[in-house]
């Protein structure tokens, strides 16, 4: 894939859910594309369709109509297995509630995506420790998730998302459960990773702190893209 081709592209993307006799339109004819190395955010109030769009781009969900293409794979045409493979190889997820596997150690949580990829043990160990160093948690690799603070847990989730060097990281409200200091901390880490590794980060957020870091802000209102702006020098960072 050349750098000119978008990593993600949606065309006339519609997602609707049945609710009683009616259908709720979560996404309404969304046309978007994301290029390699973007640090973009889907911004909007609750119910505007941010998470739904993120899920479809991440092959966790399928469009009702229209199309979504991620890494040149049409999401609506993928089987469950193909979708799982796409997520496994190319996409890292960061969730609002961290979603660390509770019975695994920090090391094992970060190691998990590499296990799925069938990486050799030595390579896994190196990659996991490198990722943990990037999020400044190498010394906590033996800890259990229950022994970590919220900020540390989210840093582990970031390490898990980037350990396989994915092309895309999708972060759904990554700072919602964190205080300001921790939020800035993890956002700076993600910004650095974006710059150093060239990983594309796409956020779903309504947090002003996150918005302050974005270089592209896509505003969603009632499932539609109401504004798509590139921010050259983001000076909106809030405390």
């Amino acid at each position: 894939m050349t750098s000119a081709e978008p990593l993600i592209k949606t065309k006339e993307l519609v997602k609707s859910y049945p609710m009683g006799q009616q259908r709720i339109m979560a996404l309404d004819r969304v046309d978007l594309s994301f290029k390699e190395g973007e640090f973009a955010g889907l911004v909007g109030p609750s119910g505007s369709g941010k998470t739904t769009l993120l899920n479809i781009m991440g092959s966790l969900d399928v469009p009702s109509s229209g199309s979504a293409t991620t890494m040149q794979r049409r999401i609506e045409a993928l089987t469950h297995q193909e979708a799982a493979e796409l997520r496994n190889r190319h996409i890292g997820f960061i969730f609002q509630t961290f979603n660390l596997l509770p019975v695994y150690s920090v090391f094992e949580n970060v190691e998990f995506p590499l296990l799925l990829l069938g990486c050799p043990a030595e390579e896994r160990k190196r990659a996991v420790m490198r990722s943990l160093e990037l999020v400044h948690l190498a010394d906590r690799h033996k800890s259990r998730p229950s022994q970590l603070s919220g900020g540390q847990s989210q840093r582990v989730a970031i390490a898990r998302a980037i350990v396989k060097k994915p092309a895309i990281v999708l972060a759904d409200e990554p700072t919602a459960n964190l205080d300001a200091e921790n939020s800035h901390n993890i956002l700076q880490i993600m910004e650095n990773l974006n710059r150093e590794l060239g990983t594309t980060f796409i956020f779903a957020t309504h947090d002003e702190k996150v918005i302050g870091y974005l270089r592209r802000k896509i505003s969603l209102t009632d499932g539609r893209v109401s504004r798509d702006e590139v921010i050259q020098n983001n000076t909106e960072r809030t405390g």
Binding site: D61, A84, R87, F93, Y104, P113, L117, R160
Partner: protein, 390 residues
């Protein structure tokens, strides 16, 4: 391989819950194994006692002989065939003459089966040498159950009456030479053992017998006119049937026990899938296919059986070894069950019983673990991610 590693990690991580399930399963394991071992011990012990004291390697019966019809005894005798006579001379077989009779202990009347046996025989493990002297009163060997039923003790005399080959009633005084302790009821209850030669003379059945018992090493013999060969298997048919009926009763108990253990596994699985919904969503988001998630959860459940087997082995091997060594002291009432068990029952633990039970529990646990996981196949990753994590 990956799913197995994850399942092991999850099982270890599950902590107390996994241990509790393992303990419940281990109890089921041991209960099933012990029940089967007891039944096997019951059969083997009974069969061994009966082979030693009554059945030998097999028996030739006179064609008219029916042990369940005393009226058949009167005509069920004839000369011992030459082929069997040779075996008797070589101590490879022994003849038994069976006739119907009556005894009058302390003036009371009691029907009995009179069995004549060579006092010098070594085919059956019976103390027949105590009736070796050809004297009056007739020396008689009885079992302790017969002694209890009639009040006859060693040294007691009583009147023994029978009908000879011509249908004439005759009677003599008899004296109890020994009250033998035997676990085999069918050589004891309602029976008196007398010297074969004496009975043949008194009953006018010289050189005749009702059955020929072969040495336990001989499990087959020639075809003989007027006689039919009954194999050990045939002679033990009643015992086999009784053990089978006991097995059915035990089966119900261990099916119930197994169901309880499986219910615990099923419950844990259902709870686990509900409680770990978000974890399932996360695994899917990280790239684990639904099929592998189902495999993972099924394997986790099945591994409970493995844990149960390990826990069971840890305390079961020493406990059951001790049990096999010391046996189980039986109550006196057990004698009325009809098994020749003696005072103690020794369970027999075989590789077949242990392996069979382990495989059975593994299969049952795997099926029970799999059933709830089918829900996962209907679960969308986005729905699962909305579930509760902890």
């Amino acid at each position: 391989m990956l799913v197995l590693r994850l399942a092991i990690r999850n099982l270890i991580g599950a902590g107390l819950k996994a241990w509790l399930n393992g303990i419940v399963l281990s109890i089921s394991f041991l209960a099933i194994i012990t029940t089967q071992a007891l039944l096997k011990g019951m059969y083997e012990q009974t069969a061994e006692s009966m082979i030693e004291a009554q059945l030998g390697g097999g028996q030739y019966w006179h064609n008219d002989y029916d042990p369940y019809d005393p009226l058949s005894f009167q005509g069920a005798h004839s000369e011992i065939p030459e082929a069997l006579e040779e075996m008797i001379e070589k101590d490879r077989a022994t003849a038994v003459l069976v006739i119907q009779g009556t005894i009058y202990p302390e003036g009371r009347i009691r029907p009995v089966v009179i069995k004549g046996i060579d006092p010098e025989q070594h085919v059956l493990n019976l103390p027949t040498q105590v009736i070796g002297q050809d004297s009056d009163p007739i020396p008689v060997l009885i079992g302790y159950r017969m002694s209890e039923a009639t009040g006859l003790q060693q040294g007691d005399s009583f009147t023994l009456q029978w009908r000879d080959a011509n249908g004439t009633f005759d009677a003599r005084d008899a004296k109890v030479s020994l009250v033998m302790k035997t676990s085999v009821q069918s050589i004891d209850v309602g029976q008196v053992w007398v010297p074969l030669g004496r009975l043949q003379r008194l009953a006018e059945m010289r050189g005749e017998a009702t059955m020929i018992v072969l040495h336990r090493d001989l499990t087959d013999g020639p075809q003989l006119d007027g006689w039919s060969f009954k194999s050990q298997e045939y002679l033990l048919k009643d015992v086999t049937e009784m053990v089978r009926s006991k097995s059915m009763g035990s089966l119900i108990i261990y099916v119930l026990l197994l169901c309880l253990a499986l219910l615990a596994i099923f419950d844990t699985q259902i709870f686990s899938i509900f409680r770990r919904k978000k974890e399932i969503g996360t695994l899917m988001a990280l790239g684990l296919t639904r099929g592998r998630v189902i495999k993972l959860f099924t394997l986790e459940g099945a591994m409970q059986a493995g844990l149960g087997a390990l826990i069971g082995a840890a305390y079961g091997i020493p406990l059951l070894s001790l049990f096999a060594d010391k046996g189980w002291t039986l109550l006196e009432t057990t004698d009325s069950y009809g098994f020749a068990l003696g005072e103690k029952l020794y369970p027999i633990f075989t590789v077949g019983i242990v392996a069979g039970t382990t495989i059975l529990v593994f299969i049952a646990t795997t099926i029970v673990s799999y059933l709830p996981t089918r829900q996962i196949s209907k679960l969308e990753p986005t729905e699962a991610l909305r579930g509760r994590m902890l």
